[in-house]
């Protein structure tokens, strides 16, 4: 069902865990739908110096979290914000169609964590692009 890349990230997740002194966290999804993603950010000088995730969910959810955190590590907040779910899915060399919403979840949880950092630091929360999450339907 999943390709080897997805399976690799699922079985050997990168950046799994908690950052005790995170300065931005975001959690999306809910247990009823079967997936929850929580992102921990350590931001210094507008750059993500560390990132960790915790995920409750299927193989695609774990792999998307793992891949997405790898992709934003060392990036500026703006660069991280612009990471699309499509880019995550592509980096994973594809997800089954019914699993694309997992990559959306990754995008959303990163956005949530970034805006958490921003609002905590007196900045305005960025706005989601409209309709960008059309695929995430439960």
């Amino acid at each position: 069902m999943y390709n080897e890349k997805v399976m690799d990230h699922f079985e050997h997740p990168r950046n799994q865990g908690v950052i005790e002194d995170a300065n931005g966290t975001g959690e999306v999804g809910n247990a009823q739908c079967g997936d929850i993603m929580k992102i921990y950010l350590k931001v210094e000088d507008d750059v993500i110096t560390d990132v960790k995730f915790q995920t409750f969910g299927c193989g695609a959810a774990v792999a998307s979290s793992s891949m997405a955190t790898e992709m934003i590590k060392g990036k500026t907040l703006k660069e991280a914000w612009d990471l699309s779910n499509k880019a995550v899915a592509e980096a994973l060399e594809g997800l089954p169609p019914q699993k694309l919403h997992c990559s959306v979840l990754a995008e959303e949880s990163i956005h949530a964590a970034i805006n958490d950092y921003r609002t905590q630091h007196g900045l305005e929360a960025w706005e989601e692009k409209k309709g960008s999450h059309a695929e995430h339907q439960h």
């Binding site: 079985e11 997740p13 739908c33």
Partner: protein, 395 residues
């Protein structure tokens, strides 16, 4: 994953391997004795006799007469035929069908389709063990009721339903009674007479027979429309050139399954209980289905804080084949309607694991699975944002 990897098939409720001896018995009817049983030459006669022998083997296994057995392409066809066949044949009498929330989709989706055709369907609830209450069945019967369909044993949680009682109620009210016995036949005793059954579905590949084979038992005097219209095969009730090798294989497999049933069930039940114990030793883990009125081979548990598809994927790396009721692993993205019907909260239902044992399962397999599941559950709980601190690894 520090243990030696082995292959452990724990999904016998999904399908079973065709027995080697059964497969070998089928081959001659493919290549040599391939005649169409409906023809009149000698080659056909051998096929015909083989089909009739299988019919008798199936009949004996469920306490029926050979002429009451009709061969189909599987449990799904038998279910569709029984329910649609009765509905269309009796629509002048009434339009009401009684079923339950825990039926296999072969029944529930058929009923939903019939609702679109103007039939009215009552879907009875179950208790937290997945058990139907016969009193609910009786209360649901109206003057319009033409069919009651309740499965004999549930494929997910393994609960065995009070079929004889429900059958007696149906008979008392002169309503026809169908049971989907796909998970039961070959595994627990079935007797259409003693259990007051009018129609019964079974499927060959659930008891080490071939895939794509099944049968419908149709009791005396029961009239129903065909699902397969066409030639005069199966005494005009089920058209289509007979799958002779498949029929031969199913008959043989069932007769072998029934011969070993008592002994086998005893052995498997012991292993099942050992496995259940091993699972319940994992904290925040609960058994689904009935504690003892359940199939000898079924273990179904739910682990809090984790998701089933992930469990399966990791177990697969241990060489273990299993199943889950999680939405994430189902193509419809709906979590198990059976677990929901048993009252499992929506946020827990995703963490279920079904392990179904078979004749070849050993105690070593069971212990290996217990070890693997423990490891996998801990791994996933460590990853989950929901897991409370006391359940996390000390690392």
């Amino acid at each position: 994953m520090n243990t030696e990897k082995r292959l452990v098939y724990m999904d016998h409720a999904a399908t079973t391997a065709t027995r080697q001896d059964v497969a070998e018995a089928m081959v001659p009817y493919m290549t040599g004795t391939f005649g169409n049983p409906s023809s009149l030459y000698d080659l056909a006669k051998v096929s015909r006799e083989a089909v009739e022998k299988a019919r008798e083997q199936v009949a004996v296994a469920i306490g029926a007469e050979p002429k009451q057995i009709y061969f189909t392409s599987g449990g799904t066809e038998s279910d569709n035929w029984a329910v649609k066949g009765i509905a269309f044949a009796r629509k002048a009498k009434g339009n009401h069908i009684i079923t339950t929330v825990i039926e296999h989709h072969a029944i529930s989706h058929t009923c939903e389709w019939l609702e679109k055709q103007g039939f009215s369907v009552t879907c009875l609830p179950v208790d937290r063990f997945g058990m139907v209450d016969p009193a609910d069945v009786e209360n649901a019967i109206t003057d319009e009721t033409i069919l009651i369909t309740v499965m004999m044993a549930n494929n997910e949680v393994g609960t065995i339903e009070p079929i004889a009682e429900i059958g007696a109620i149906a008979r008392k009210h002169s309503v026809l009674f169908h049971t989907d016995a796909v998970q039961a036949v070959g595994h627990i005793p079935v007797d259409v007479g003693a259990q007051n059954i009018d129609l019964l579905s079974l499927s060959g590949h659930k008891f080490h027979g071939p895939k794509g084979t099944g049968a419908l038992y149709i009791g005396p005097g029961v009239r129903l429309d065909p699902l397969m219209h066409g030639g005069a095969q199966e005494r005009g009730r089920r058209a289509g050139t007979e799958n002779v090798p498949g029929i031969v294989g199913m008959g043989l497999a069932l007769s072998l399954a029934v011969a070993d049933m008592a002994e086998n069930a005893k052995r498997v039940t012991t292993l099942r209980d050992r496995l259940t114990e091993g699972m319940l030793a994992i904290p925040n883990t609960y058994l689904n289905g009935h504690p003892d009125k359940r199939l000898p081979n079924n273990v179904n548990v739910v682990f809090e804080f984790i998701e089933g598809e992930s469990i399966l994927l990791l177990l697969n790396r241990w060489g273990i084949a299993a199943s889950t009721g999680s939405a994430c692993s189902s193509k419809s993205l709906e979590p198990s309607h059976v677990l929901i019907a048993c009252g499992l909260p929506h946020d827990v239902v995703h963490g279920s694991l079904r392990l179904t044992l078979g004749e070849e399962t050993t105690a070593e397999d069971v212990d290996y699975v217990i070890g693997a599941v423990k490891d996998v559950v801990q791994h996933l709980r460590d990853m989950s944002p929901l897991t409370p601190p006391e359940l996390r690894s000390q690392s």
